[in-house]
């Protein structure tokens, strides 16, 4: 077991995980997920917010099983290898706020870091500006880290129950999804909301989505795969360990897209994207900064939540609430461009994150 444990901590291990994710994401798209959205942690959490009725944007409502799989896969992996450590209490409300604004930034661009890479791997040139914004936001975050930024120490919980909260919530949502499927031609089950058209209506078969989510959850927990950390470590330490995983994901996704006929290069009419490049850049700058200040990309936060990290669970919850705010108040973008209040929300988010960066100090 130790040999396996060590493999995933090696360069080969993280590259292996990146390759698997890069192959599985376009396959999920082929099997029904929205274009260039085989996996998008932000979009999928946004769809979950819609499925629960937290926002009522009718085209993005589906309780995505991939997210459930991410958390439960990481949970099973952590439990079976004795890495499950219930913990929490490191500036939880600040992490919640960071989660809210991370989601708002991601929805101004229309994608999390995972989808940024997948959009690029599908030929969407607009994602270049998102990627540059992501790197810029992370760079700002590393300046704060160098200056002593810290959200303080987390506490190990005496009770296992604390760390079980988020995985159990996900398990509960899975049960709900299984007993409350979409009625034919209707947008509402007993409780859950569904989409009749748009991205929310596009999805791979439930059990395939769940299985892929579980596999990625397990692999990412073992390897500590993190898209934000990839850029952060490169900028901060000139260390390319995590970056090689992200590069592998990108290359594998391009090749898989080429094989599946899903590579369509260009800037115009790209699926679920817009060409307002300044806001693509600034939206992802906000998201990148918020992820850096919170210590993980949205995927990594879910995997840590599965390991019992209550602070990561709060961040993920913040992202789901952020999705509701973004769609209820016209902050989220659409293929037509940014929402009526997207620009002001991005500006407020950047100001709030910079204030957090300046005020939360280790010394």
């Amino acid at each position: 077991m130790d040999a396996l444990k060590n493999f995933f901590a090696t360069r080969k291990g993280i590259i292996f995980v990146g390759l698997i994710i890069g192959i599985l994401a376009p396959i999920l798209q082929k099997l029904g997920n929205p274009p260039n959205m085989g996996i998008c942690v932000a979009c999928m959490e946004r769809d979950i917010a819609g499925a629960l009725g937290f926002h009522r944007a009718s085209v993005v409502q589906y309780l995505r099983p991939e997210i459930i799989g991410f958390v439960l896969g990481a949970f099973l992996s952590a439990i079976s290898l004795k890495e499950f450590r219930p913990r929490g209490g490191s500036a939880p409300f600040i992490r919640f706020i960071l989660g809210v604004f991370a989601m708002i930034g991601a929805l101004v661009f229309l994608g999390c870091p995972w989808r940024t890479l997948l959009r690029l791997a599908g030929g969407d040139g607009n994602a270049i500006f998102g990627l540059l914004g992501l790197a810029f936001g992370i760079w700002i975050g590393t300046r704060f880290l160098k200056a002593g930024y810290s959200l303080g120490r987390t506490q190990l919980s005496q009770s296992k129950a604390m760390g079980l909260g988020f995985p159990l919530l996900m398990f509960g949502l899975l049960i709900l999804l299984l007993i409350d499927p979409k009625p034919e031609g209707e947008a509402r089950g007993m409780l859950l909301f569904y989409s009749l058209k748009g991205p929310g209506s596009q999805h791979a078969p439930l059990f395939i989505s769940l299985a892929v989510g579980l596999i990625i959850g397990i692999l990412a927990q073992r390897s500590r795969f993190c898209t934000m950390g990839a850029f952060r470590d490169l900028i901060l330490f000139k260390q390319g360990h995590l970056f090689s995983g992200v590069a592998a994901l990108f290359l594998a996704a391009i090749i898989t897209n080429l094989i599946l006929g899903q590579f369509n290069p260009g800037f115009e009419k790209q699926p679920i994207s817009h060409s307002m490049q300044l806001w693509n850049f600034l939206g992802m700058s906000l998201a990148g900064l918020a992820f850096t200040l919170a210590g993980g990309c949205p995927g990594r936060q879910l995997f840590m939540a599965g390991e019992g990290d209550g602070d990561a669970a709060i961040f993920a919850t913040g992202m789901i609430v952020g999705a509701a705010v973004a769609h209820n108040f016209g902050l989220a973008s659409s293929p037509a461009g940014i929402g009526p209040n997207g620009a002001i929300a991005t500006a407020i988010g950047l100001i709030v994150c910079v204030i957090i960066g300046f005020t939360m100090r280790r010394r």
């Binding site: 880290l145 120490r153 190990l156 210590g295």
Partner: protein, 72 residues
């Protein structure tokens, strides 16, 4: 007497940042880093190795680890 870096409970990448600060300050000698997750254990070990320090020992302590690193 080894320098002790207490990185327990800190988020990524703070344990690595604190370790690298200590490495810069000491140049050589012995450092013990306390962490409480496997992720931090791996990250700190990787960073120390990349700076040319050797991992002398990793001791399980409570629910975390004490990582001993050294440079002659």
């Amino acid at each position: 007497m080894a320098e002790i870096v207490d990185a327990k409970g800190l988020s990524c990448p703070e344990p690595v940042l604190l370790t690298l600060e200590a490495i810069k300050r000491l140049d050589k000698g012995e450092i013990e880093i306390l962490v409480d997750t496997d992720t931090s254990k791996e990250n700190v070990s990787r960073a120390a190795s990349s700076m040319g320090w050797s991992i002398v020992d990793i001791i399980t302590e409570g629910s975390g680890y004490r990582i001993k690193i050294k440079k002659e």
